[in-house]
Amino acid sequence: MITLQTPISEEEIRALHTGDIVRLSGTIVTARDAAHKLMIENFIRTDTIGYPELYEKLKPLLKGGVIYHCGPVVAQNEDGSYRFVAAGPTTSIREEPYEAEVIEHFGVRAIIGKGGMGPKTLAACEAFGAVYLHAVGGAASLIASAVEEVQDVFMKDELGVPEAFWVIRVKDWELVVTMDSHGSSLHQQVKEQSEARFKELVGLV
């Protein structure tokens, strides 16, 4: 079993190939639609940085870091801290228009989600040394139990609980590499194979 600990180096990423199973530990950041839009509009496709404080906090977290596509169910403890109750992945393809630029800008090394992403993200993984890690869709209780600590949250009031940037520490989270930094996508391979078999089965070849 391959283990990864954040921050992750480019060498570690380049050693990974589609189909590899990894165990991830360390600090990661959740971001879905609204968070991606915010990063693009305020940090990347702009001359003046909006939310400079947030920008300074995110930079070190995302350098060699990991973004998780997740809208968690979160509970607040009596002492005011938070805990993740359910934390399954959400469909990643919605971030396809943004993710390549986010990877390049911040030096992100891994994206976690479900369903895989498209050619723009795959090209960015190759160019800048990143991978896509697939979580098991629906495995909400298991994934929540891999989240050891909620360390921080940004923009919770502005974006709402599911869309906020949650900074969490995970331990031994099992994930599958489905897009690597060598231009290979397991999603594309499986799709091509199954299409060919489908055509045979219904006599369309």
Partner: protein, 289 residues
């Protein structure tokens, strides 16, 4: 008539947190079948671990607790108005207890009601029957799996699918191919042959209350179930679409009479999180299965 609200809350809890044994067995058998160390086996291992943990902690198996679909079989004399009120109140309480995620959104305003009640939500089918006890079947069907449901109108020329069982086979396999990457595989196919557009979906979803491996009593349909099951698994889509031997856990088919002019084949998809539970009420005695 007795107040069953608390019993319905318990039914919600069980459905959301306790996967039925036949589904879990099918997942375990799939785990054994896949190559050791493969991504497919890793997914199934994670799913089984998750199922265990959810049951132990009484937390949701999946965060999308879906549309609650009820079938209420009642003896003469029960009030369906009261039963509906009790089910709705139970949905509110089950949401407050976090057994259910708030999942009912007003289609005009986009506002989430916050308590899993609303227009035609939860979905309840009432059926009067001859037995002297009440039976309530509940399934929770998630959005990702609901989105891959599809209705074909035969003939369907693109696939050379005519108005016969061979045509049904072709469109069913097409539906599996198209569900790739959408609903969380391995799933279960519920298929309705015939009916109108409405009953087509209703009959196809009713199949999800059958046990895995329970074949149709109609021999032609039983054969077709077997064949589509085997061929769907030859597609190699695999758990979570990572490739592998297990793309579907089962295929279950039924039929409804149709108009001479129409031949619909409706395919509904249920993801691996096939959450269903049954409650039986005999006098004061309430049991769950």
């Amino acid at each position: 008539m007795q107040d069953l609200t608390d019993a319905f809350v318990e039914l919600f809890r069980r459905a959301a947190t306790d996967l039925p044994p036949d589904v879990e067995n099918a997942l375990r058998q799939a785990y054994e079948r896949e190559e050791p160390g493969s991504p497919a086996q890793s997914v199934l291992g994670n799913i089984l671990e998750n199922v265990n943990l959810a049951r132990k902690q009484s937390t949701p198996i999946c965060q999308d607790t879906g549309t609650p679909i009820f079938y209420v079989y009642y003896p003469a004399g029960w009030s369906t108005i009261k039963l509906r009120e009790q089910i709705e109140e139970a949905a509110r309480r089950a949401t407050a207890k976090s057994y259910l995620r708030p999942n009912a959104v007003d289609s005009l305003t986009g506002k989430n009601s916050g308590d899993n009640t609303g227009e035609d939500f939860p979905v309840i089918h009432f059926v009067e029957w001859e037995n002297d006890y009440l039976q309530v079947d509940l399934a929770l069907k998630g959005g990702g799996s609901e989105n891959c449901g599809v209705q074909y109108k035969l003939p369907f020329n693109e696939l050379h699918a005519g108005r016969d069982l061979e045509g049904v086979r072709r469109v069913a396999l097409d539906a599996v191919e198209k569900a790739q990457g959408l609903g969380c595989a391995p799933g279960i196919l519920g298929i309705a042959i015939g009916g109108d557009r409405g009953t087509g979906y209703e009959v196809s979803k009713r199949q999800f209350f059958r046990n895995i491996g329970q074949r149709s009593e109609t021999p032609e349909l039983a054969d077709l179930e077997e064949r589509i099951y085997e061929e769907a698994n030859m597609l190699g889509i695999g758990p979570m679409g990572f490739g592998g031997k297990t793309t579907v856990l089962d295929v279950q088919i039924d039929r409804a009479h149709r108009l001479p002019a129409s031949y619909f084949v409706t395919v509904s998809y249920m993801c691996w999180a096939c959450r269903r539970h049954r409650m039986i009420v005999r006098g004061d005695e309430i049991t769950y299965q």
